[in-house]
Amino acid sequence: MAGSNVATCATCGTPMPSDAPLGLCPRCLIESGARLVRERTGAGPGGDPDRTSTAALPEAGCIGDYELIEELGRGGMGVVFKARQTSLNRIVAVKTILAGEFATPAALLRFRLEAEAAATLRHPNIVAIYETGELDGRPYFSMEFVEGRNLESLAKERRISPEQAARYVRKIALAIQAAHDRGVLHRDLKPSNVLVDQDDEPRITDFGLAKRLQVDSDLTLSGQLLGSPNFMPPEQVSSHHGKVSVRSDIYALGATLYLLLTGHPPFQAPTVPETLRKVTDEEPPSPRMENREVPADLATICLKCLEKSPDRRYGSAREVAEELQRFGNGEPILAQPVGTTTKLWKFCRRKPVLAGLSAAVAALVLVLLVGLPIAWMAVREQRDQARALLYVADMNFAFQALKENNLVRVRDLLERHRPKPGEPDLRGWEWGHLWHESQSDEVATLPRLGDAVTGLAYSPDGRHLVSGGGDRSLRVWNVTTRQEITRIECAGLPTQLGFTPDGRHLVSIVDSLTGKASVLHVWEAGTWCEEKRVRHEEGIRSFAMAADGRLLAFQFSDGSVTLNDFVSGEQVATLVQPYRGGYGHRGLAVAANAPVLAALEPAGIGIWDLHSLRKVKQVPSSDDPARFRAHPMALSPDGRHLLAAAPQSSVTDLQGDAKPVVLTESTGNAVGAAFSPNGDKLALADVDRTIRIWDTTSWTLFATLRGQESDATELAFSPDGALLASGGADGSIRFWNPKATPIRRQSADVPSEFRGFSATQGSTVLFWLSEREVEIRTGIPEPQVIRAELPYVPESSAAVSPDARFVCAERSRGQYDIWEVTTMQRRGTLEGNHAFVFNHRSFSPDGNLIVGGDTATEERVIWTVADGRERARIRFGGGERNWFSDSWGIDSRKVMLAAGRNLGLWDIERNRVVLVMPHGAQVARAVMSPDRRLIASLDAETNVQLWDAQTGNRLSLLGRRGASRQFLYPLSFSQDSRRLAVAGGLNGFRLYDLLTGHELGVPEMNFLPRGCYFSEDGRWLGLGSAPGFVYLDSTPFTQAEP
């Protein structure tokens, strides 16, 4: 045989390289290896990857009428199979949801939406949907089987000529037009979603993100990025979903063409945030730069599709098709190539400061900036601008990660933006808020195991916790010191653990690594020596010990359930016989203090009395019992309540016939469950990385504990119920306090008789208790509470000064008194008999002046608080009564006056309106930034606009708040003037970063606030609504020097 020191390989005769592995000729090695692999495809004990990947498939390899032949591919959500439709004996493609039984409701819904959207479409260049259906909760649809490759792999494999690329994209455009005509947006069009069939015809598939234009359900979750970043238009990237339109698909057509022409997408970067930044920020290089063979007209068409602003793209897919047709016919196209002016314009937009070097260009910038989502604030360097955009993107991701309870990711994203020396500090309220929210609720952890935790058991005296792990060890921990006392190496995988009720023995099940056998071990507690072992050839899926410690129940992998005597090991009874389809099921529970056993059966869950060994009840289960492989079952200690975590988490009262209580707060995919020892609490570990705790008397959610970094499949209460231990798939063991509700979202303790509330810029909060009573709170979170009662019921309105010293109340129509809050002494009366004071914002920020109206002359009037004398008076507008929207400038020297569509700035000292800001709709709210440089306004069309408080120029349209026009609530600037919060809209409120003009994302709200107010110290953001006042904390951080 070939020795290792010869210069050439004895087999193939090629020179033997010095680095030959083990001295063997690499060429011969790989060739013989390839032969061996081909001979034995799919045989390795290392597991056949094909089999692994289809493990989640229905067992028989069938979905309904479809016999699955092979996997064709998979995407983020679905998997596609080649299949035979038995009834019609035709080959089809079947797409089903990838996550199968673990799919979230949102994923299921999105999947169904795809099927629904695509099913309405019939076009030769769209892959036809034949049938949609659902099998065991798993939705699927069948479609035409297209023999061929997708465009992306085609483009990678061979060069596609520009003419051919144009031909493909023209057909795709016509098909997209057909979808648009039916009111369907694709939203994830890209080359890999276009198949090319045997006739070289492109066929669009994968309407996975499709959205029906007329269906206004925002299923795509605000702020959540959907689609493929490389082919996504800027408006989709910046999560303004409202703006996603037919022109977004036009962009994707352009990006597809771009890839076909150059071999890569228009924007590429190593990370997603970087790609997103490029998508929003950079112009794509012309395809001609990459491939000189691309004709100029085709490049022009491509770049016009890729315009950042949707308005500058083609108006419809048909227009794109027509242009490509012109190009194909050699006719002149309609689009103009990007000329010098446009390039300059674009340059200015991207690099305002560089452009500012030239005065002429600066003027152009000024003009062009109006209406752009880039705020006027000087962005000193382009680098800073990029960083600011990245910050915005990361905060959006962080809010998303928080929703997913991925606290580690939240903290990672936040850490990226701790400024380094010399860098600007971009952080604001949201950063501190996310930081505050991302702190884990756990009270302690144990050193992490090398592999998943597979079992947890507390000793009955509460001193020890035993863990089983995927690293094939049992570890005994001292709970007090959190030290590992001893470790037992196992020959297989420990899967379940439990102590005997007397605490003298630990029982563990260890699965064999090679066969299906399991070994039952009995260890002596304290010495941790093995006392006994019993091997079971049929694997044990589950075991439980009866309350008296005399009986052990086993559930075997064939589905059978037996009862055995713990001491003698003899089988006492068989409760469930092996049954077909029972393989691998886990569903066995015994009550801790009562002789009750629950076990999964073919037809549901059977309940047995362990004294009489008779079955006493059958709980029907409509669901596929296979779900119990992954989802737990538990009995309350008194044996009265049965928790079944599949198909959704529900609790059945075994003593009555009432319908099960569904624990709706659970995701429906709980992976671990435990009742507290006295039965007052139920803990469920969920796939959303939370542990939720329910009160078992009312079945109301008591607490949601966050901080898991992976699924917690094992849960164990300490015997006194004071601690809950959890074991995660990541090897972590954590302790939680199951009796405390973690306080995250602070809510003010609202007086029960409360009728309404208001707050001023800053932190004074008022609750009106009755017509005469008011409660004023200053200094949240530990407020000083002042209650005042007016001597009369105000005629129509009343107001409290921001320093909480005075109340201004209408005694009789047009006549107002000023009362001192602490003493309830009348300080004065407003001059005139036709006064009208609007609300709390009528008081100037310094508390010295009141603005109101004169109902007789339709003029605005200012009075001094100290003596009630009139100080100034002005006429603005023609008597439009949106007076209530008037508000004070921050310096108490100016008032923003709302009159119809105009917002005026009244300089009191000069007694004239110095600026007029015309709006497109009636002005509803206005507020001045604390640094006095900006004014933000909200109009009746819910447009949120930013104005220069010095010049009155409109700086930008931040966005439309959306939702109902009925509620136009106050806006609030943060104290550093860099954030603007706007209440209302679908997400509760919106938070804008004023440096970039982008939304920062917001926490999930379970109510719709009517106002939001930043506290003066930036510590919290208050949100008021009918049921109360909630404030969101933000951990203070030291703001770096700018």
Binding site: T11, P26, R40, P45, T271, R487, C490
Partner: protein
């Protein structure tokens, strides 16, 4: 199959860290397994860093700089959330890593900060000294950096497979047998060899043939398994195998 109580240290057992997971797992990691997938990615990087080192060296970077670049690359690569952002359609680990490295190299050149040693972020502990020792033994030929990378990748993969195979034989006290019959892996079926080797091993010729058959079969299984670790989809195994064959036969 005995159970014992060990109060001292964790059992050493199979301390050699072979990738226990797959590139597919990294690619398909949903939010639930992202942590595990990150660890899997790190493990894969650890196993396959050398071809990248060789690539950087062949591109003309001197040893110290190449070390910095590779350390920096992995720090950057592992710190960015590649797991969360990985697209299941991104293809093989091989091309993915090379693509990412090229991006990193051009970025780094742009920033002219080649000496970034990971900026305090966790790095992989790579035995770069051994890497350089290996590199100086790379054949001096006209292979381009890309070709060299491909070749080194294929050899690294073969090494992984053979190390696993050898470890299995060693753990079964069959190290001597392995060493004696490993030569049969290259495919030659020389009857003369069987006849002469069998007595040396104290076996009959038939028993030796069985042993060689088992060795080959296991080699095939491990090779397939190893390739399955680094491709995005099982359907790509055959294609990857063809690619490796082409690279090593060139």
């Amino acid at each position: 199959m005995s159970l014992g109580i060990d109060q001292s240290s964790p059992s050493v057992g199979n301390a050699r860290c072979f990738p226990t997971t797959r590139w597919t797992m990294v690619l398909r990691a949903g939010e639930l397994e992202a942590e595990g997938a990150a660890a899997a990615l790190e493990q894969l990087c650890r196993a396959y860093w050398y071809p990248l080192y060789v690539y950087v060296r062949r591109r003309g970077h001197p040893p110290g700089e190449a070390e910095d670049l590779i350390q920096g690359f992995f720090a950057d690569f592992l710190a960015h959330d590649h797991v969360a952002s990985a697209d299941p359609r991104r293809g093989r680990l091989r091309s993915y890593l090379l693509g990412a490295l090229n991006h990193y190299l051009s970025d780094t050149r742009d920033r002219q900060c080649r000496l970034k040693r990971g900026g305090g972020r966790p790095t992989l502990s790579l035995d770069v000294a051994a890497g350089e020792a290996g590199y100086v033994h790379e054949p001096i030929d006209d292979l381009s950096p890309d070709r060299l990378f491909e070749r080194r990748w294929a050899l690294t993969l073969l090494n992984q497979v053979l190390e696993r195979l050898e470890a299995e034989y060693r753990s079964g006290d069959n190290a001597a047998l392995f060493s004696a019959i490993k030569g049969f892996l290259t495919g030659a079926d020389e009857s003369a060899s069987y006849a002469s080797l069998a007595p040396q091993l104290g076996r009959t010729e038939g028993a030796l043939r069985v042993a060689v058959h088992r060795l080959r079969r296991r080699y095939g299984e491990l090779l397939r398994d190893e390739i399955a670790h680094v491709v995005a989809d099982p359907t790509e195994i055959d294609e990857e195998l063809r690619h490796l064959t082409a690279v090593l036969s060139a």
